[in-house]
Structure formats: structure tokens, C-alpha cells
């Protein structure tokens, strides 16, 4: 795996990728795969699906390096978050509602004696309720609670101003509190 240019900035690596440099591509992939995978997993709740999305996103960049236009995008990660989010949304749209329901089924009649079991159940319900949120609220939540992303960055990724983002998060949290009141 490439570790040739750990000191190079993303935009420098991207310029090399545009010249067909596969080592620069390897460096960029190694640097950012983890964070984009985490985001994709939060959307798709499936390791295989999240890995596929991240792979597709990076391969798109490799195949068409001119997609990245430094004069139009301030930061690679901001732009690429958008690419990954769009791929996740496309994938979710392709899935049937029936498949989603099946995926988020959980055994709610289990005895809640074990603390770990309760936590697991809480998480499962939370994921189901997040999946049921409107698309923009879900995106705002996924971006803001992803480590390392400020509200300002999340707003930039979504193409909204800070106030609009905060409003989306507030609405999402209000809905979640209402739907999960038994657990909160």
C-alpha cells in the first residue's frame, strides 16, 4: 500500500491522479476510506453495502478524475462527502420499502433484563427511527454526529446555511425524542 507522500495535501494528490498517478490515488484512498465508510454505514446499516458505496465513489473519481474541479470546490473531503451521500441515497432509493422493513426488524418482545440487550435494542430502534426521518434531516444528523465534522462543514456539504442546518437537526431530534420517548 502506498505511503509515499503522507505529507502531500489532498489537492496535490488529486492533481497527480488527474495525470494518471495510481500511487497518489492509493494514498488518497488510504487516507480517507475510513471516514467515508463510517458515513456510508450510518446510511445503509450494512457493511457490504457501505463498502460497495465507498468503492464506487473512489472508482468514479479514478475513472473520471476531471470530476474534481479545484476551482469549484474548496475542499476535497467536502465535495467527496457529497458524492458518498448521493450514492447512499441512490442506493436506498433502489431498495424496496419491503426490504428496508425486513432489515430493520427487531425482537421487541425480549425480556429487558440484560443491560447490553437493552442498549442493543435502543440502538436498533434509533437506527430504524433515523431511517424513517426525511432525507435532509437524516443527512444533517449523519454528518453532524460523524466525528470530526463541524456544523459549518456539514452545512457546506449539504449546500445550506448554518441556520438551516441547525433547524434540520432540531427537527430531527424532536421527532426522535417523540418516537423514542419510552427509551429516553
Amino acid at each position: 500500500m502506498a505511503t509515499a507522500w503522507p505529507e502531500k495535501h489532498d489537492h496535490e494528490l488529486l492533481a497527480l491522479i488527474q495525470d494518471g498517478n495510481s500511487q497518489a490515488f492509493a494514498q488518497l484512498v488510504e487516507r480517507h476510506t475510513g471516514r467515508f465508510y463510517r458515513l456510508a454505514f450510518r446510511y445503509l446499516q450494512s457493511r457490504a453495502a457501505a463498502e460497495d458505496v465507498v468503492q464506487d465513489a473512489f472508482l468514479k473519481l479514478w475513472e473520471n478524475p476531471a470530476l474534481w474541479q479545484p476551482e469549484r470546490n474548496s475542499k476535497f473531503t467536502t465535495w467527496f462527502y457529497r458524492v458518498v451521500v448521493n450514492l447512499c441515497l441512490d442506493r436506498r432509493k433502489r431498495k424496496s420499502a419491503a426490504a428496508l422493513d425486513e432489515e430493520s426488524e427487531f425482537a421487541d418482545d425480549r425480556p429487558a433484563a440484560d443491560e447490553l440487550l437493552i442498549q442493543a435494542q435502543e440502538q436498533k430502534i434509533l437506527e430504524r427511527e433515523i431511517a424513517a426521518l426525511p432525507e435532509r434531516q437524516r443527512t444533517a444528523l449523519n454528518l453532524c454526529f460523524d466525528e470530526g465534522l463541524s456544523n459549518q462543514e456539514a452545512a457546506e456539504i449539504m449546500g445550506v446555511n448554518l441556520k438551516a442546518l441547525q433547524s434540520l437537526i432540531m427537527r430531527a431530534k424532536t421527532t426522535l425524542k417523540e418516537r423514542m420517548k419510552v427509551f429516553l
Binding site: V29, A50, Q123
Partner: protein
Amino acid sequence: MTANDPREEKLDRLLRARRVDPAGPDLAQRIVLRARQTPQNPSLSLWQWLRELCLELHLPKPAYVLASALVFGLVIGLSTPDRSAINGNDSAADASVQSVFSTDEGLL
């Protein structure tokens, strides 16, 4: 919905503790390997396209081609006879044009 709302705090805690299954340890490597098997589709600028064309047709570098074309154009331009040099034959040329017109008119 104050900051001290225990429900809000618990929800925040749950949101931060969302479980993420770790990715396969070789995910990055798999992506790089797939990319190595995939050709790039670079979108060429006009200059890059010209360079590619020169390479393809085994022509010299585009800069040389352009400079040669410029010099060639200048040489042709300078070697073209001056219009004033043929002014002396103008009346003869006019006469032949006139005769062509009059022949056409005669046919009509």
C-alpha cells in the same frame, strides 16, 4: 428542550454512540486494486488534445508545429506578389471580362 433536558442528553449520547461495524481491513487495498484494473477517462483540454494528436501522428511537439506554421504563413504572405505589380494588365483583364459578358448577353 433545554440543554439540561435529560431526554435530550440521552438522545445525544445515543446518537454519538451509534454502532458502526468496522470495514474490512483490506477495503482500501481492494479499491486500489480495482482502480489498477480500470482505465482512466481523462477529459482533455484543447492543448492536451493537440499534444496527444501530435504524438499519435508522430509529429513534432505542438509548439514547434505552431511556430513552423507561423513562419510558413509569413513566408507565403511575403512571397505573394504585390497587387500593384499587376495593375498594368488591368485593362486587358477588364476587356476579356467584358467580352465574356457580351457573349452571354448575345446568347440570351
